[in-house]
């Protein structure tokens, strides 16, 4: 079964969606979309580093992404610049630096298009193992960090008084995000990965009554979007990554349109 490239692509996409759903909920709740973009953009520098020192691209992306997270935390405490300015600095700085360094590498063969938009159909068995392995680890750690992260989202002061160490949880979440993006970037690409984090979460928001349910619904919505997008991309011969995002967007738009009809009496949704 794993010999079929389409099956592998489907399994990889489902594995990614199961993790980006719950992770993405925190991105939406804590308004971290631009933070996610920054880590995603740094992947270009990460892949360049991996080529330079001959390591696996996933490791290269993870190293650079984690560094960006640490630098961001440091700057946020020390610097008086607003955080979106700092993020822009790091985001475009690492992207540009990666592109410049690539041009110095002789005989460089890199498919920039695949890096930016993803190539989900090129998934190997090793890639599948990486995605599901990293995914399981991320979901496990996220479950452990759930309470501190949730309390810190509701009220950082409350988390501090309850000795939940919200700063540490926030840093750990940044590193988890680096893992997610490192594992997923080859398949959805630098420019599209954040959409898999935020669109499913945004779509299911009004159907969820608790944070835990929203995380579960977002994972399910991500899986449905990946499945629908991949099948559509096979049927219409469109690029797989963008088609998945369009599918996710279509579900979002559909549930919004549906809302207008049932708005009377739909309290608190």
């Amino acid at each position: 079964m794993l010999d079929d490239f389409f099956t592998r692509a489907m399994l990889a996409g489902i594995g990614i969606a199961l993790v980006t759903g719950p992770t993405g909920c925190f991105i939406v709740w804590r308004r971290l979309a631009y933070f996610g973009e920054t880590i995603a953009h740094s992947a270009v520098l990460g892949v360049t580093l991996a080529i330079l020192i001959e390591i696996h691209p996933v490791v290269g992306v993870f190293i650079i992404a984690s560094l960006i997270v640490l630098v961001m935390f440091h700057l946020e405490r020390r610097d008086s610049l607003p955080s979106d300015t700092l993020l822009g600095l790091l985001s475009h700085g690492s992207l540009a630096l990666g592109l410049v360094i690539i041009s110095f590498i002789p005989n460089m063969r890199m498919d920039l298009r695949a890096l930016l938009f993803g190539d989900i159909l090129a998934v190997s068995r090793l890639d599948l193992a990486i995605i599901w392995g990293c995914g399981a680890i991320v979901l496990g750690i996220l479950a452990c960090l759930w309470r501190p992260l949730l309390v810190a989202t509701v009220s950082p002061d409350l988390a501090n008084v309850a000795k939940l160490r919200p700063e540490l949880a926030r840093l750990a979440f940044g590193i988890l995000l680096a893992v997610v993006i490192a594992a997923a970037i080859r398949f959805v690409g630098v420019l599209l990965i954040v959409s898999l984090l935020i669109i499913p979460a945004a779509t299911v928001r009004r159907f969820a009554s608790s944070p835990e349910r929203m995380a579960g619904f977002a994972a399910a919505m991500g899986v449905v979007s990946v499945a629908a997008g991949l099948m559509a991309s096979a049927r219409f011969d469109t690029p797989s990554g963008p088609t998945i995002v369009v599918a996710a967007l279509a579900f979002f738009a559909f549930t919004r349109a549906f809302r207008k009809k049932s708005i009377n009496g739909a309290r608190g949704l």
């Binding site: 939406v28 709740w29 804590r30 308004r31 309470r147 949730l150 309390v151 989202t153 509701v154 009220s155 950082p156 002061d157 409350l158 988390a159 501090n160 008084v161 309850a162 939940l164 945004a202 928001r205 969820a208 009554s209 608790s210 944070p211 349910r213 929203m214 309290r267 608190g268």
Partner: protein, 236 residues
């Protein structure tokens, strides 16, 4: 959760600050603050915006180390904190009952009891984002009470609450102090209200002292035990 050490009921003094000062960016935010909170009493911490009320409370709770002076607090002190407002975005779905168990596990009966004690038992289980300012304050109070705190800290609890609601909230806090035998530190800028209640009042005056210029230290903290408010807002 591990079995928690409980603070003995006979221990009356909950937190003592001795001459504490906190400096940020070369400037003293608060200085020479002396304050004691005991069981069964409400201490009002009053001051204008920027007088360092929140900074002072953070030092008492052990969230900030003072640059000067000491804070004494028993290790097993259970603090119930009622934040001024919630930072959460409306995208976070959170019901009233789920908020009650945010920082600990409690059974339905304990949640019901806490909600009854603040008069929210008939509200059902709505989303927190749909509550009014007064309802939210009561809910946050109930959330703190469910932990059976020794020390209750309320940060500007009457923000966004109307006058009738303010009176009700003050009565509620007074009743809770009696029932629970806890100490209360209430941060507020409403000096009039603090005086009416006859509780002890500590006034923080914005600190003008600048180390570079060596200008006179204008900070005064007026702490009066047992005799209500005394002293002026302008301090020196």
């Amino acid at each position: 959760m591990a079995v928690k050490e409980q603070l003995p009921r006979q221990l009356k003094t909950l937190v003592v600050a001795r001459d504490i000062g906190i400096r940020r960016g070369g400037r003293w935010i608060i200085r020479h603050v002396n304050l004691t909170v005991r069981r069964n009493e409400i201490i009002y911490l009053i001051g204008a915006n920027g007088a360092g009320k929140t900074t002072c409370a953070k030092a008492l709770l052990g969230l900030t180390d003072p640059d000067e002076g000491t804070v004494e607090r028993p290790r097993s002190l259970e603090v119930g904190y009622v934040p001024q407002r919630l930072a959460m975005a409306p995208t976070l779905p959170l019901t009233l009952r789920r908020l009650m168990t945010l920082t600990g596990r409690f059974d339905q009966q304990e949640i019901d009891d806490a909600l009854v004690s603040v008069g929210l038992e008939n509200l059902g289980n709505p989303q927190v984002a749909t509550l009014s300012g007064g309802e939210l304050q009561r809910l946050l109070l109930a959330r703190a009470l469910i932990h059976r705190p020794d020390l209750l800290v309320l940060d500007e609890p009457v923000q966004g609450v109307d006058i009738a609601g303010t009176d009700a909230l003050h009565k509620l806090v007074a009743g809770i102090t009696r029932d629970l035998g806890c100490g209360v530190l209430l941060i507020s800028h409403d000096i009039q209200k603090a005086m009416e209640t006859g509780s002890d009042v500590v006034v923080l005056v914005p600190h003008e002292h600048d180390e570079k210029t060596g200008a006179g230290n204008l900070s005064r903290v007026t702490g009066r035990r047992s005799s209500g408010f005394s002293g002026g807002l302008t301090g020196a």
